[in-house]
């Protein structure tokens, strides 16, 4: 096994981990601040991918297309939050799960209604094509590096927002005692809308970046959503640090596993274990620490 291959897989694992992190951080934020389970989160990723494909068809100026896609997702997310999510904050998890599930299947079908059943293909901007040398005689696609960089930057930006700004402080306080900060004059409703939209945009960012890499089709975000939920469980709900560590672990485990398990256990068992490895890890973590690695006891 060459160093080049190992390096390539490591970067792939890192990239997967960061995409999952974008999804996971939105999910853990929504739950930590608003006690909300959102199964439509995967649809936000999907919308990001569809919108960038559509926007790239209108304009060849990539930053413009990028901004347009982000704005469109933010608009959809805001509409969903105001109309559907707001009444659900007070309701139990069953209602939230069902309503967001309904939104998810409606959106999954909605994109088919607009764009058809065929997968849509988007291409990366020309200035990100090509490969970069990251080791002796070893090339890695520039676009994939860019994804990892952007996702990391987004994660860092969010961390800075939450820990270094007044808004971030209010958000974190809201996670502790929503009723109290309302009494302190913070517009809790607006803050919740803001957190929801931020988390949706983070997911959409993943979709925007993944679009050119994989086929853009209905339901593409759902497997990543479930992976992100497993990550949230492993890392602990409400913990950004936990989400990051768990995402990276999961990304690397999954990527290396797909290579290693079939080699170790043969084709059949190897594939099965590779598919199941993340969930086996989740089961092990829960068996030992029911609240996740860094989680506080769930509400």
């Amino acid at each position: 096994m060459s160093a080049g291959l190992l390096l390539e897989q490591a970067f792939n694992g890192l990239q997967l981990g960061m995409i999952v992190f974008l999804m996971a951080v939105g999910a853990t934020l929504a739950f930590g601040v608003m006690n909300l389970i959102n199964l439509a989160h995967g649809s936000m990723l999907m919308l990001g991918a569809y919108f960038i494909a559509a926007a790239a068809a209108w304009t060849s100026v990539f930053p413009l297309a990028f901004a347009a896609a982000v704005l469109m997702v933010a608009a959809v997310a805001l509409a969903v939050e105001l109309v559907i999510i707001k009444p659900l904050y007070r309701r139990g998890h069953l209602d939230q799960v069902l309503a967001t599930f309904g939104v998810s299947i409606a959106l999954n079908e909605g994109v088919i209604m607009i764009w058809g059943r065929e997968a849509v293909y988007a291409s990366p901007p020309s200035w990100l094509e090509g490969a970069v040398s990251i080791g002796p005689g070893f090339q890695y696609p520039l676009y994939r590096l860019a994804i990892t960089a952007v996702a990391s930057a987004a994660g860092l930006g969010l961390w800075l927002l939450l820990t270094r700004t007044r808004l971030g402080m209010r958000i974190r306080a809201g996670a502790e005692k929503g009723e109290m900060i309302g009494a302190l004059g913070v517009n809790v409703g607006a803050m919740f809308s803001g957190v929801f939209v931020i988390s949706a945009v983070l997911a959409a960012l993943g979709g925007i970046m993944l679009g050119p890499l994989i086929a853009v089709q209905s339901g593409m975000g759902d497997p990543l959503l479930i992976l992100a939920l497993a990550v949230v469980v492993i890392g602990g709900v409400g913990s950004l640090k936990g989400a990051l560590l768990a995402s990276l672990a999961v990304g690397l485990l999954d990527t290396f596993g797909r290579m290693a398990w079939p080699a170790l256990c043969g084709e059949l068992i190897g594939n099965i274990v590779a598919n199941a490895s993340v969930y086996i890890l989740m089961a092990l973590v829960i068996a030992v620490r029911p609240a996740g690695l860094f989680g506080v006891a769930a509400r």
């Binding site: 559907i84 069953l94 309503a99 309904g102 469980v233 059949l268």
Partner: protein, 331 residues
């Protein structure tokens, strides 16, 4: 003075009188049962299969109601057991086994085993985590099924042979399937009601209401919940056997998270914690599916819309709307 009862507290609205709404419910159920028994005799395979489909999903929804309604355990991975039943019905014929008397218990056992193992892990977690974990485990089982490339992988495979009841009777025959599933449904409704009314059922509901209080009285909720989870899983797997015979196909789609969500939809559509409600909900769901898909190919969109509307606008499901009563403290 009549002895105080341990039945559900009496909370029917006064204006109808507690009797008449329940009579209405009984009339509706009786009419449905008659219709279900009569339709297969009409010689229309399409409608007979529709009845079978309703009965199959009713069993699945009923089993989920035990968990969600009575146990307060929102599982978003229940379709995994449905799929396990489907695959049992599909794989055993490859070993030369076709008899229902082997396949059905085998499916129930497989469902129970997987349920016991995944439940033991999932139930260690509370509330939110439980939902995530059940979803994740179901996804894992889905991926395992997808990974079985010699069994068609993601595409699945045709059912090699229909399950045989004995003699000439095969579940591949729509009329036999319909009556068998209706019969099983009635048995499971009866069993479910007895379980819900038993001491075990009372404890399960108490754990749902306040598990910390139950501990303070001296009982851990975990063993009872694990048993409930195992029973529900086994029941759902039996429904899966029926489904394999209905569609004559075995595929991972039967265990997808979408399918899990649809089962939850049926429970809430019919009213949770009522057992009979989810049966109504399953029938209504299948009916809705039929009607919507005849109008538009994008019926899933409207299904999603209806689900959202049901959650936001209605406070109760079909059972509640008919009787004016809530389930055992459930939604």
């Amino acid at each position: 003075m009549p002895a105080p009862s341990l039945r559900e507290p009496d909370d029917a609205p006064p204006e109808d009188g507690p009797g008449s709404r329940r009579r209405l419910l009984r009339a509706v159920l009786f009419a449905l049962l008659l219709a279900a028994l009569a339709v297969p005799l009409l010689g229309q395979p399409y409608y007979t299969k529709l009845v079978a489909r309703m009965a199959i999903f009713a069993i699945a929804a009923l089993s989920l109601d035990l968990l969600v309604g009575y146990g307060g355990l929102v599982s978003f991975g229940h379709a995994a057991f449905f799929g396990i039943g489907v695959y049992t019905a599909g794989l055993l014929p490859m070993l030369g086994i076709r008899q229902a008397v082997v396949i059905v218990p085998a499916a129930a056992l497989a469902g129970a085993l997987v349920g016991c193992v995944t439940g033991a892990v999932s139930l260690r977690a509370s509330g939110l985590y439980f939902i995530f974990i059940t979803l994740a485990f179901a996804e894992m089982i889905f991926y395992i099924a997808q990974g079985l490339r010699m069994f068609g992988g993601d595409d699945g495979f045709r059912l090699p042979a229909a399950t045989l009841l004995g003699g000439e009777l095969s579940l591949g025959h729509p009329v036999v399937l319909a009556y068998t599933m209706i019969g099983l449904l009635l048995v499971f409704i009866y069993a479910g009601r007895r379980i819900a009314a038993s001491r075990f059922g009372q404890v399960v509901v108490a754990a749902r209401d306040d598990e910390g209080k139950l501990r303070a009285i001296g009982l851990s909720p975990f063993p009872g919940r694990l048993l409930l989870y195992t029973i529900a899983s086994a029941m759902c797997a039996v429904a899966g056997v029926g489904f394999a015979n209905l569609v004559e196909y075995v595929s991972p789609a039967s265990m997808s998270w979408i399918q899990s969500g649809e089962f939850l939809f049926m429970v809430i559509l019919g009213s949770a914690a009522t057992l009979v409600g989810p049966v109504l909900g399953a029938a209504a769901y299948v009916g809705l599916e039929q009607v919507l898909s005849s109008w538009t190919e994008h019926w899933m969109f409207w299904l999603g819309v209806i689900l959202v509307l049901r959650v936001l606008l209605l406070r109760q499901g079909l059972y509640g709307l008919i009787t004016g009563r809530r389930g055992a403290g459930g939604a």
